[in-house]
């Protein structure tokens, strides 16, 4: 090859190179910029939301963010299928921006919601524990249906599970368990409280009976017995002054007045000792038979039978005593008042035929009773 040809070939090559270079530059300038940073920012925002558990705490927003991100990627793929110079990433950028916005909103909402759920979980656990403690202090010994007590126990276990969730920062699950626990604990607490409030409607009668019995004892300078069912005690008065207080046990269905024979309830009213029994004449160590039913009891029983509140074949109870063999830690009698044998010895010694025996719910008002139990 001649030298001149080589030089001209070299020049052509250089010119071609320059032209191609310029064409490449032009081509590159015409190629649209990929939406890499916008999509990446959206992904990072979603990852952050996921780390904060937005899937759990802000599921709707998180799903929206995720859907927009998926749409951005689908649009990007579709654009990449087109000829490079005809691509338009506007839709991709728009979807990515929405995804980022939703993800950021999900994160903010999650922080707010998880903080509030955590606070709710903590305060509700505290409240339910207090309700539970009140229930146990106040209502544990009350003759509530077994089902109510079982529900209370179930609520207690759910509360423990909610506490485990709180420790593990599973606030949503914790709150779900708490709602269930609340139904059991507050439900049983409210039911028991309603029963007790209903029972305390007779408070004015109780107060009147107890006061008149103590006044009679003061006037006559003799002995009188006052039995309080709620605090489960039996007082022995002399000359209007309280001399002794003994723990007492009652019939298993003691909350309320006795309605009929076999209802396991201990009667309420003003009675007197009719007979003193000891040795072989009673199976309960020693006993003081009382004048149940009195006139009011008979009148109320007849009225209930007439009104259909009691079945036609119902019979009025009798043989109610204050007797020994108590101290079992339960309300186990069929309606009598049971004392420990040592206490029975004392009361048996001082009581005589005709000694007044008044059985009431409580000398404390309902509020005083609650206050005394919450100490």
């Amino acid at each position: 090859m001649k030298r001149g040809s080589l030089i001209s070939l070299f020049i052509y090559a250089v010119i071609a190179g320059i032209i191609i270079f310029l064409l490449v530059l032009l081509f590159r300038a015409m190629v649209p910029e990929p939406p890499q940073s916008e999509v990446e920012m959206a992904r990072a925002a979603i990852a952050k939301a996921r780390d904060r558990q937005s899937e759990v705490y802000s599921p709707r927003l998180f799903r929206e963010a995720q859907n927009n991100y998926d749409s951005a990627m689908t649009a990007w793929r579709a654009e990449n299928e087109r000829f490079i110079l005809f691509r338009d990433y506007e839709r991709v950028i728009s979807f990515a921006a929405t995804a980022r916005e939703k993800a950021d909103e999900a994160t903010r909402n999650t922080i707010k919601r998880s903080t509030s759920l955590k606070a709710n979980l903590e305060s509700e656990i505290k409240r339910l524990k207090a309700d539970m403690a009140s229930f146990e202090k106040i209502f544990l010994s009350m003759p509530l249906p077994q089902d109510v007590k079982k529900k209370h126990a179930k609520g207690k276990q759910l509360l423990r599970e909610a506490e485990v969730d709180l420790q593990k920062e599973n606030y949503v699950n914790g709150n779900i368990k708490l709602t269930e626990a609340n139904e059991y604990i507050s439900g049983t607490y409210n039911l028991a409280r309603t029963n007790l409030e209903e029972y305390f409607r007779h408070y004015s009668d109780w107060q009147e009976w107890a006061t008149s019995t103590i006044n009679e004892s003061r006037k006559s300078g003799s002995y009188a017995i006052v039995v309080e069912k709620i605090p489960a005690v039996c007082h022995l008065y002399h000359g209007g002054k309280k001399k002794y207080t003994f723990d007492a046990e009652f019939g298993s269905n003691w909350l309320g007045d006795k309605m009929s024979r076999g209802d396991m309830a201990t009667p309420e009213g003003k009675y007197m000792v009719t007979k003193k029994l000891s040795g072989g004449s009673t199976k309960y160590y020693k006993a003081l038979m009382i004048s149940y039913p009195n006139k009011i009891d008979i009148q109320e029983f007849n009225e209930r039978t007439r009104n259909g509140k009691l079945p036609a074949d119902a019979r009025i109870g009798d043989m109610i005593e204050i007797h020994g063999d108590g101290g079992k830690g339960a309300n186990w009698t069929q309606g009598c008042v049971a004392l420990r044998n040592a206490d029975m010895d004392v009361i048996y010694k001082y009581a005589a035929k005709g000694t007044p025996v008044t059985i009431i719910g409580s000398t404390l008002t309902l509020d005083e009773f609650f206050a005394s139990r919450s100490k």
Binding site: Y12, A16, G17, M73, K149, K150, Q157, V164, G329, A330
Partner: protein
């Protein structure tokens, strides 16, 4: 001369075109995706939640990078291929590790269940010796109710355990039951100590 000029342009253009026609490493990508699916099937998301989420995120980044490369005039998928292979490897490691982790949590659940059962027996035995003072029977009845509920909860945990679907859930359930049992035992022991009953 004109021919030479076009030949030169064609050569340079061909080189540029070849550079822009690099292929997506589809095989490596499919393998990474399949490895993640397998990992999820064996509950990697349950036993290694953070690692699984990170891996999933890596896959998302990789898919994004593919589109970035596809958007360019000069594409390069070498790094993506390496990335996909790394994901496949890591997913494989996690999948292999799940069995060991599962066995570990299973053993923990088993130990906790045995411990809770022993506590339940202890509480039942203590109840028989518990003092029956004032309201004693009511307290015992309450505790008995609680023990029944806890026993049911432990039975539920055992059913979950036997199902083998989620031992983490079993551990949580037994943890709550154990807390309850410890409370009951402490309460009973305190009452017995006050009443001077030998334990």
């Amino acid at each position: 001369m004109k021919n030479r000029f076009f030949l030169a342009i064609a050569t340079v253009a061909a080189v540029a075109l070849m550079a822009s026609c690099a292929k997506v490493p589809q095989e490596a990508l499919d393998a990474a995706s399949a490895a993640l699916d397998s990992a999820k099937t064996v509950q990697t998301d349950v036993y290694f939640p953070a690692e699984f989420a990170a891996l999933n995120d890596s896959l998302t980044v990789m898919l994004q990078n593919i589109e970035t490369q596809k958007s360019k005039s000069a594409k390069d998928f070498k790094a993506i291929k390496a990335n996909a292979e790394a994901i496949t490897l890591k997913a494989g490691e996690l999948t292999a590790g799940v069995e060991a982790k599962k066995a570990e949590v299973k053993a923990e659940a088993e130990t906790m269940m045995a411990g809770a059962t022993a506590l339940l027996d202890e509480a039942k035995a203590l109840i028989l010796k518990a003092p029956k003072g004032k309201e004693g029977k009511a307290v015992i009845e309450e505790i008995t109710n609680e023990l029944t509920v806890i026993e049911t909860s432990l039975t539920d945990a055992k059913t979950l355990f036997d199902g083998g679907t989620n031992y983490v859930e079993v551990v949580d359930k037994v943890k709550a039951a154990t807390g309850g049992l410890n409370g009951i035992i402490a309460e009973l022991k305190e009452a017995m100590a006050k009443a001077g009953v030998k334990i």
